[in-house]
Symmetry: C2
Subunit: 230 residues, 2 copies
Amino acid sequence: MVTMRPATADSQSVQDFLKAVYTLQQKMERVSTNALAEMLSISAPSVTDMAHRMMLAELVNYEKYHGVRLTETGEREALRVIRRHRLIELYLVTDLGYALHEVHDEAEQLEHAVSDRFIAALAEKLDHPTLDPHGDVIPAIDGTFHYRELCKLTELPLGIKAKVACLTSNDPDILRHLMDKGFTLGSQIEIIARDPFDGPLTILIDGKSAVVGCTAATYISVEQDKGACK
Amino acid sequence: MVTMRPATADSQSVQDFLKAVYTLQQKMERVSTNALAEMLSISAPSVTDMAHRMMLAELVNYEKYHGVRLTETGEREALRVIRRHRLIELYLVTDLGYALHEVHDEAEQLEHAVSDRFIAALAEKLDHPTLDPHGDVIPAIDGTFHYRELCKLTELPLGIKAKVACLTSNDPDILRHLMDKGFTLGSQIEIIARDPFDGPLTILIDGKSAVVGCTAATYISVEQDKGACK
DNA sequence: GTAGTAGTTTAGGCTATTCTAAAAATAATG
DNA sequence: CATTATTTTTAGAATAGCCTAAACTACTAC
C-alpha cells in the first residue's frame, strides 16, 4: 500500500472489470467485491486491489466495504467495450459462419485486440446494427443506449403470443440447449402450460410444441406481440 | 538466475520472438541478440532472458554469445503465427476495405487474440489463398511453405519486363509511398534508366513513367515475365 | 599476441496482475 | 446488544515481461 498507481484504462483486466461492473450494476445499486470476484473468476483481494487502482483512475467510485459504482467516465468506457464486444459477436455470426454458442469466447479476446478502425469497418459492413446475435442492444458510438421493454419468458402469461427477443447467456452449453429446443430470435412463442413447483413449461415455438425446464427458460426474454408485458 | 521457468509457448512475446527469429534466420545462420533486440524494439538483456526461457521450452537452440536458431518445434510454431498474420492481413484488405499500409499493425494484434476456429473461417472464406496482400507466401496449415523465385527490383536488368510480386515492408509510410508511385501487385514493370551512385530508377509502371529512389526500390520484388532472374 | 571496441550477458529492479493466509469490519441472529 | 458468520481488506508473495548499469567475451587491428 506504499504507493499505488492508477489503473491504465486500456488494459484488458481493466476493461473486463468495467464490463463486469456495468453488468452487475443493472441489478444492484453498488457492486460488491465478491460479486465481481465471482463474475471475473479472480480472487476477492484482486478485486479490492483493482478497485483501488480504478478509483485513482476515476473510473469507479469505490468505498471500503461498500463496493463499487461506475463514474461517468467509467460508464462511457464500459459501453465502449460492450459495443465492441457485441459488434464483433454479430460479425462472427453474419460474416464468418459462427454459431451463437461460439461467439462469446472469441469476441471476449478480440474486443481487446482490435482497433477503432476495425470496429468502424465492422459497423459499416453490418450497416450500423442495433442488436447483437443474442438480441442484446449494441450501444451506439456516441454512448447512446436504447433500452427495450422485454419480458422474461418465465413471466409471460399463458396463451399470450410473443416473439423470442433475447437469449441472455454466455454459456455455450446453455445456448446450444436453447437452440436445440428450437428457440431462435424472432420465433413466435406461446405458453401452453406451466407446471407448478418450478416445473417445465410447455410451449409452442413457431407452431411446434416443445417442453423447456424453468431454469433454461430463465435465459429467454420475449416481446409480446400486442400490449405491455404483464 | 536462481531458477528459470520455460517460456509459455502461447504468449504474445514468445510468438513475436519466434516470428522475429524466423525472419532474421532467412539472412543469417544464427540470429544475434542485438538483431532481435532491434527488430522487437526491446533491450538486449530482455532478448537474452527470453532466449533462455525459450530454450527451456525447446523452441530455440541458444548458445551463449552465439545467438539463437529455431528448433523444429520452434519453426513449426513460427510458421503457424506467420500464417495467422498473413491470412488476417489479406482478410482486412479483401473483406474490410483496409489499405495495404494499414494492415500490419492491426494484424499484429489480432494474430494473438484469434482462435484456430477463426483462422479456419478466414481461410475458408478467402478460398485458401497462398499470397497475402504484400505478395508474401502464406504458409499452409500443414506447415508447407512454397518458396518463390523472385528478383529485387534493384537487380532487374534494364529493358527487361517484369511484374510487381512483393512489397516487402511493414512500415506504413514506405508502403504508402510505393502505392503513391503506382506500384501495385501485378503491375507491369520495366526499368528505363538507372542513375549511378545509388541514384533513382526511371521505370515504366503499366506503361506510365515514374521515378523511384533506390532505397524505396529495395522494398519491391518482381517476377520476370520470361526466363530466370539475373 | 595484446589492446580496444562491439556485442552479450549478469545483476538487480520495476510494474501489472494475480494468488493465499490472516486480520478486520459489517451484517445477521439470538 | 452481544456474538457469530460472512464479507472484505491487508499483508506478503509470485510471475512474465520489461528495463538500466556494470561486467564480461569475442573479434579485429595493429
